[in-house]
Amino acid sequence: MSAPLSPGLLRRRCDPSRLGFATTAELQPLEGAPGQARAEGALDFGVGMRREGYHLFAMGPEGYGRHSLVRARLQAEAGRREPPEDWCYVFNFDTPHRPRALKLPPGRANAFRDAMARLVEDLAAAIAAAFETDEYRNRHREIETGLAERQERALNDLGERARADGIALVRTPSGFGLAPFSKAGDGVMEPEEFGKLEEKEQERYQEVIGRLQKELGDVLHQMPKWRREAHDKLRGLDREVTRTAANSLIDELKAGYADLPHVQAYLERVKQDTLENAAVFRQAKDGEPPTLFGIPLPRPEGSEGPFRRYAVNVLIAHEGTGGAPVVYEDHPSHAALLGRIEHVAQMGALVTDFTLIRAGALHRANGGYLILDVLKVLSQPYAWEALKRALRSHTVDVRTLGQELGILSTVSLEPEPIPLDVKVVLVGERILYYLLHAWDPEFPELFKVAVDFEEDMPRGDDDDALYARLVAGCVQREKLRPLDASAVARVIEQQARDAGDAHKLSVRMQALTDLLREADYWAQTAGREVVGDGDVQKALDAQIARSDRLRERLREQIVRGSVLIDTSGTRVAQANGLAVLQLGDFSFGTPHRITARVRLGSRGVVDIEREAEMGGPIHSKGVLILSGYLSGRYAPNKPLALSASLVFEQSYGGVEGDSASSAELYALLSALSGAPLLQSLAVTGSVNQHGDVQAIGGVNEKIEGFFDLCRERGLSGEQGVVIPQANVKNLMLREDVVRAVAEGKFAVHAVGSVDEGMELLTGVSASEIHARVEARLSEFAQKAREFAAVGARIPWRPGKKK
């Protein structure tokens, strides 16, 4: 029979005296993340690899410092790189609905925007002044007068020719008419006078008038052409004057961008446009607003009216920033990633232009790094698809969701896409990585670098000291009181407990930081300048006290007898199993009564939990293994004539996991052998078909759960827990449990096989147990054969018809 474990094996202590410091203030804080060598290596590779598709996926559970490690690495790398180019959107003079994207060297976009604003002001002043000069006015008047005189001359010439034929050229409301002069020479002939003329004379007049009308028509036909010529001359004059005023200003600005041909090309286009739209500059900037049916149209906020087309919309500027950008987008919606096109209300309609294009996270991170929470990206409609499209095409195309889905048919902007060079780091749970890998064919092509975060680090002899430096780093970062060595030792022990392993330390940074903050709070409350182990313990106790309401209620129900759990005496076919309940971030162990019933039959071992659809698949598998064990151990060459049922008594929720399979087997063997089981012992561990007891999870919580119940009822010295041998390394039990074991009031037994467990629980040798079981099963088999023989002799009777 195995001896109980010694107290030294129940908790691996951290000796404060071996840490070698008085308080954490003496320590060199540890930067980085211990135990994350794999993740750091992957990060370095992913960041350094500048090939297509080598974006990163940082995976691991929440609270393990994924964000801070990723951000720290990216910022370090970004600091070594040059800041990327600035980007602006400007008016596209050729295709106004496709604003042009202009690239400028870092830090020059704002200066360019200001320079353009100044240019527009200067152009307005200079062009308006040029049109006010006497020279312009005189030349303008000369052209207008020339046109008027040309028209007048043509009409006068015609009038003279008509007069020679006795015909007057008369101005009518809409044109001209021709009529004979009176013989008296005092104007147009009266109708009566015309009527008195000889018919031949009348015909002559009408013939002449007909000819002159044709000539008049020819003259009038010429007039639009003359007006066009005059207008062309006026336009030419305007262009000439504008060119003179504008060229020097624009050329001066162009000279400042001699190194940027595309900016120069844009300015050249601005120059042409000013010539074509000189009239715009001749009007006062704040003159009358445009009207619609006489109603003044409001101008958009900040609008410079007609000069808006020369504005520069600085999308991204890297003024005063060193290095490449590292952007974290907390709300990665479609618009937040790709940018958006805003609108302003005008007369009840929504209008937009290139100045209302806004940058998205991809724009801001362009030339650097973008960190995104994958779950948030996947939760936002169409954000994931948009992100992949941008990464595949290497461009950011600002499109509204309406455009994307084709549900808007109104005319909108289609800004020129901006080339994209960004390294994206997705942060998320492992399950999301594997799901995406399995179900999204594009995912593996785009996110080739998996950055897998460890959840714990090894706890070798030197690792406690290393971890102390990590604690010191947290203390410094969070601006907390220093911890003395005993407090650090307590923290380290807790982190080992959190890791569920005496030989590992949890690197769940969030939990560590929370513990340090809360210990600091209790030290502050107590008026201490240095955090001691008592403060750490108080923080831990307070954490549990805030969360363990349900644990208390469950234990109360057991103590009051509502839930039946024996902690003393013996009973056949009944064992105390142990389960772990996880509620939020608090988990605790609690005992469960497991009972077995056996009888002659052929159904094998029946899992009542599964029959009632309350058992999970792993639990069912554990029970099926028991059948395998029984068959292999007791009936390899004969039929197993057994029907056995197993149940978690008073279990009203689901049961999952196979950690109770050893307890179930003990109950089953007890039922078959008739050997009673000690109720002062609780059991945990899974078994295989050979009867080996295997490791399970949550061993510390399970032991403590049974210990708390026993203590409540009074520790007898007989009570204890049977655990798998393989779980001894995981033991990091509470101090009070270790103390009780040291005082002989409680025991923890480790077993490697079912035989050892049965001997502990029954006090009967394993061979004896096996013999009894075998005898019982043989008895069942014999009876089964007898029943079968009787059944064969009974004649067949047909069933009654209804």
């Binding site: 009518t172 409301p173 008419g177 009529a179 008049l216 009038l220």
Partner: protein
């Protein structure tokens, strides 16, 4: 620098309008406002035109359409009434009941006779704008007695405004 109109305080603006000469009543009204002078609009229904319209073969060739259309007195009368009404509305829109006094007179006669009749009643100094006359440019100054019938005829043909000074 003071303009020449300011040197001579113009008390009246006499703007003549006639069918076929167009004219810019809005500009005339604003000019009168600027000069703080009373505006007298004179719409002349040219008798020559009426006589032309009564001829059986009278045809009008439109400036814009260059199409010949028959003309008769009734349609001409309608056009004249419409023009006079539009003129009055244009002046009313700008001057309305404001400080600048204004009136519109419709005369059916020859332009020369109508202007002579107005000049006989008007107090100088006045700015006389002929039908279709341009507002911009140099403005001649004449004394009233210098405006003989012959001079008036030439001046009408030239289509330039003239400032009429007292004797």
């Amino acid at each position: 620098m003071a303009s020449r109109e300011e040197e001579v305080r113009i008390r009246r603006v006499i703007a003549c309008f006639s069918p076929g000469y167009g004219g810019r009543p809005e500009l005339v009204a604003r000019l009168a406002q600027e000069l703080e002078a009373e505006l007298l609009g004179l719409f002349i229904e040219d008798v020559e035109l009426l006589r032309f319209a009564s001829l059986p073969f009278a045809r009008e060739i439109g400036i814009a359409s260059v199409q010949a259309r028959s003309m008769d007195v009734a349609s001409l009368e309608r056009q004249l009434r419409a023009q006079a009404r539009a003129l009055e509305q244009a002046l009313e829109a700008i001057l309305g009941p404001g400080p600048t006094g204004w009136s519109l007179r419709v005369e059916r006669s020859s332009p020369l006779v109508a202007i002579e009749a107005v000049l006989a009643q008007v107090l100088e100094p006045a700015l006389l704008i002929p039908p279709g006359g341009r507002l911009a440019g140099e403005r001649r100054r004449v004394k009233k007695k210098e405006l003989t019938k012959e001079a008036l005829k030439q001046w009408l043909a030239a289509g330039r405004p003239v400032i009429i000074l007292p004797e």
